[in-house]
Symmetry: C2
Subunit: 458 residues, 2 copies
């Protein structure tokens, strides 16, 4: 195309724009976290074609335009660690130390079927979209069903087949688990939004043999993430020392699993050597501030990890542990925890918290070339946030307002791959009422079993 | 009244009910934190006359009734420590360690007038009502204006005249400060909702002489609370040791200020002896989880204080420090901080967090005979909370849902002294749009001064 022949809708990135979002305040979360006070974004199918300040240039003026009415556009948030179907266990056994063995494992073994996972994931998808999260990495069972729900919801997702030595609801042997994993990789090969992933539960519950097998699987499936809980509990550190005479991070490295594909959840207790190793191998970390805090596990060394250039994404964990699937709820705790640990206001400033919720989370998932910021050529995963509530004002610093005062209910609209999944807080695809009703029906059967447990165990 | 002669609208408490709230889920926050799955509350003017399970009894059936449609009724929340007008500084100097001396004190000296305080407080009142907080203790300047705004808003408030040795915006000498305080006590003598209060800034900024004078003032004004920052910073502990050879709590006791009237804000670093002393003297503590966390000050010993029967209320601090005036935002951090400090899920369970936000906050202010729970004879300070959002479900434990998943935007209606201040999220009295516009106008002048400071100080 010659400069003398400007085609309406074309731009510098070479993408042909087909529509505009105008009159938006824009937080790009690009490398400079550039903010545009009033500007426009041009879209081309599922992608961002261009963006700029003020009114759209004349060459784009003829395109259909949606008025953002001064609302904020920011990148869709990225949640790199969740167990979506565990919405069904939300808040169960709160404040009870042995709730994992008392409630969760027995309930999972007895009651978690493909249909149950589907119901729980659908409720989770409703909440995820409503909170402005556009990409979520899941780690649970029956992940073909999880993928189907996320796909139908229009979300972007990483679906991780859990591999565990304890009785899993969807596989009796490790061979069965790997067969499910292979089927999952086949199912989502070349899918534009759903990515298959291997999810060995944790070093202590898979041990070297399984982790090594996963490492081999990952080598055979370049581009597919591996998700694992790592250095989450003191018991895990003790196990590694007792069984292998080293740290749990080192055990994982021996298995060949530390690499850019790995999404390590929690990483509460790494040694200095562990942090250096994670950085060297290019591992990403999913930080679950509320889940860790509620469990009384302490404060993860997020500042030290990031200082070593280990990318750290903000994550929700499952709603049994973190209660919500909303990254706003993680922002203030994540920031406060680092300030408390550092004894100062300075650690983890607000803009870095927003990085963790967007571009850095994308980097953790190995998807930062496609999502996590508003930049030409990237996927059009956007959230529109109303800044109208008096609770947010005055705004001296947009990042502070978003981290310490904004709520998921300020999210007005959510777009994934150029498609609005929510407009004016109404979902455009999913039936939220039905999703809730179905989930509540499952919860009723759970409650009966919980009452039984409480009768026999008190 | 004989049982043979049941008068419509009368009940066991002797109050004659004049209207009903029906079909409500009720969390009473009485001594047993009793929950009523579906019930009714009868009101009599500004008070609660009676409540019960199921449908209202026949004797009350003729009264006008409002349908709560299954929503939750809980006591209006109590915020025992705030600097309301500091909405105007919200999020200013976030992540900057020296922001107090760099921004706040210069701005306060130069720009805080009675009109500015009024504008900031009005924005704060809007946010307070919308968050379901019905009582707030303020500590700032020009408190006659604060009282006027809270009164006009229909809120219940404790207005604390700050007394400080540094240049205060509303008094040049301590005599002037005490004159303002006396005038305030006169102004609100016998007011049904507004209570005057003395607010010496902190031991290090008032020293023994001023604190002793306040103690005398408090003895002359029984029933009026005294508010003070206490044991908030390490610098304060050092000051006490250096100047008086004891702890800052002990200095305060020497001044005669430790007593049931005292609302001590923060209490981050008490010794075991200090805690015993606070308990013995009947002092109440206002815990500001987010403010403390954001300042990197560490974790207040809430568990130890409460174990010694020191009442601890959940508070917001000023929006410059805590960003919002919403107690939901304090609940999860308060709980997580204690669990982190205790290394377990067990400390500060959800129901205790709700106590701190309601009846225990009322006890801190010496008002638990009138507010803080839904019980016959108490003031009708109520909040109606919608539990409809999918994000809250399933609910295995109502307290967990409120502490870890509810948001201020779930508050549908707020009642103080029998009058709805908000219905369906619309304020019935205050003009929220005007309050915001006025506050933003003040913020514009602040921003000019801030730019000047940043030019000269960088």
């Amino acid at each position: 195309m010659s400069p003398a022949d400007p085609r309406p809708g074309s731009d510098a990135s070479g993408l042909v724009a087909d529509r505009l979002l105008v009159d938006a305040r824009i937080l790009t979360m690009d490398a400079q976290a550039r903010e545009i006070g009033r500007g426009w974004v041009a879209l081309s199918g599922d992608r961002i074609a261009a963006l700029g300040q003020g009114d759209a240039p004349a060459a784009l003026a003829g395109l259909p335009a949606e008025d953002m009415a001064g609302d904020l556009l920011m990148p869709g948030m990225v949640n790199p660690h969740a167990h979506l179907a565990m919405t069904l266990f939300r808040g169960l056994g709160e404040d009870v130390d042995d709730r994992l063995f008392r409630y969760i494992l027995p309930l999972e073994r007895a009651l978690v079927t493909a249909e149950v996972v589907e119901a729980g994931t659908r409720l989770a998808a409703v909440e995820t979209i409503r909170a402005g999260v556009t990409t979520v990495a899941d780690m649970y069972y029956f992940e073909d069903r999880v993928g189907a729900v996320l796909d139908a919801a229009g979300l972007r997702g990483v679906v991780g087949q859990t591999l565990a030595d304890f009785d899993a609801p969807d596989h009796d042997t490790m061979d069965e688990g790997f067969a499910r994993l292979d089927a999952l990789a086949d199912l989502y090969r070349d899918h534009p939004r759903i990515t298959a992933s291997a999810a060995p539960h944790a070093p202590y519950s898979t041990d070297l043999a399984v982790m090594s097998r996963v490492a081999q699987w990952a080598a055979d499936h370049p581009g597919l993430p591996v998700q694992m809980h790592l250095a989450e509990t003191h018991a895990e550190l003790d196990w590694a020392q007792r069984t292998h005479g080293c740290t749990t991070v080192e055990v994982t490295d021996r298995a060949g699993l530390l690499g850019p594909a790995l999404v390590a959840a929690h990483v509460m207790y790494p040694t200095e050597g562990d942090i250096a190793l994670l950085a060297e191998r290019g591992v990403g970390v999913a930080h679950n501030a509320r889940s860790n805090g509620k469990a009384g596990r302490g404060i993860a060394p997020v500042t030290a990890l990031r200082a070593s250039d280990v990318p750290v994404g903000l994550a929700t964990d499952g709603p049994m542990s973190g209660n919500t699937l909303d990254l706003f709820a993680q922002m203030a705790p994540a920031s406060m925890f680092q300030k408390i640990a550092g004894g100062s206001r300075k650690p983890l400033p607000c803009i870095d918290v927003l990085r963790m919720a967007t571009i850095e989370g994308a980097r953790v998932l190995g998807m930062d070339d496609r999502i996590g910021s508003i930049e030409p050529g990237k996927q059009a995963d956007l959230v529109r946030i109303s800044l109208d509530d008096p609770r947010l004002h005055p705004i001296y610093d947009l990042a502070s307002a978003l981290v310490f005062a904004a709520l998921p209910t300020d999210v007005r609209a959510t777009m994934v791959a150029g498609r609005w999944l929510m407009q004016d807080r109404r979902l455009t695809g999913l039936d939220a009422d039905k999703a809730l009703a179905d989930a509540l029906q499952v919860a009723t059967s759970f409650k009966a079993r919980i009452a039984e447990i409480d009768r026999t165990k008190t």
